[in-house]
Symmetry: C2
Subunit: 193 residues, 2 copies
């Protein structure tokens, strides 16, 4: 069994290598630069090998997206749990979310802009997605004031997503970034009183 185990481990390593290469290439040159030829070159194998790991290019993007969502979840949890009160927790979550999107634009694009095969917002959603959304639920929970938590969480997420994407494509005034964030937090908090 030692041989087979080694094979599996090497396969897993290469799997990891492909996903990381795709992510790095996307982060440095955009998803347009992520081609199967360049990927296979970076992983030091031929193109068909990629297709023995993934059904196609979209599946690779999906793998990158899942990784990113896991990392975002960790960042959001750290920010949220370090706050002194619910309103501060919401601010910390929002700041962290927007900072993540700004720091990793291509990763963010894979996570929430490009179409992937990740199933969102259903019972069958992958755990990593449920965990990410749970961060929003936990954050808005104390601030609902009679409003439905799931709806409020989706609204907050949507607002942050809109801010992140419009700002990331230079469609908003950069000088108002902080004010927009403050206004958002205030609107959510005051609406729950």
């Amino acid at each position: 069994m030692s041989v087979q185990q080694r094979r599996e481990r090497e396969r897993a390593e290469r799997h990891r290598l492909i996903v990381d290469a795709a992510r790095e290439l996307a982060e440095s040159e955009g998803w347009g630069a992520v081609t199967t030829r360049r990927l296979s070159e970076r992983v030091a194998c031929s193109q068909p090998v990629l297709y023995s790991h993934f059904t196609g290019k979209e599946a690779i993007v999906t793998a990158v997206a899942a990784d990113g969502i896991g990392e975002l979840t960790v960042a959001l949890r750290t920010a949220r749990t370090g706050a002194a009160c619910p309103a501060e927790a919401l601010t910390a979550l929002a700041v962290t979310y927007l900072a993540f999107a700004r720091a990793h634009p291509a990763l963010y694009e894979a996570m929430f802009v490009r179409r992937t095969s990740l199933e969102f917002a259903t019972e069958n959603s992958p755990e990593v997605l449920k965990a990410a959304f749970a961060e929003f639920l936990h954050t808005v929970g104390p601030l609902t004031g009679g409003r439905d938590p799931a709806t409020l969480a989706e609204l907050v997420w949507s607002a942050l997503h809109g801010l992140a994407t419009l700002d990331g494509t230079d469609r908003l005034r950069p000088d108002l970034a902080e004010d927009r964030l403050e206004l958002l937090v205030d609107a959510v908090v005051s609406g729950g009183v």
Copy 2:
């Protein structure tokens, strides 16, 4: 001069034809199906002709986006001015915006998701962009309650954009769509009191 005028008119007609063909193709089969070969086929000319009208494919997408933003502006103005009070105007604007995005997903993508050469949120922005943003400004104006109108307008737009895109890519619960909208309007209105 009649000849030259006829030439210019025919050129303008073909320009219009290209933009319309791109839009129709995108709406029916997505932007992935919009290729220069298929476009030139629809317009009954060769590929190089496209490049005598536009610098490249991105310029065609930009032209489609500008058209769409103009149409959205008209729809928003109609909705806003037909409302009885500021809060109702905001609701009407939001409903109309989301309905537009849902009815024309590819057009919306060109307008606010894909990178185009349209310059947003600056003094040099095209008039069509200023007019669109003015609809948001006019709508939130009576609801600011001391808040900065431009910041609030950008926030409302961002929230609607987030809702439109996340909903349009099946990342939100469809059954909560109406509740999200109601919550958004309430948060904006109550935050201004």
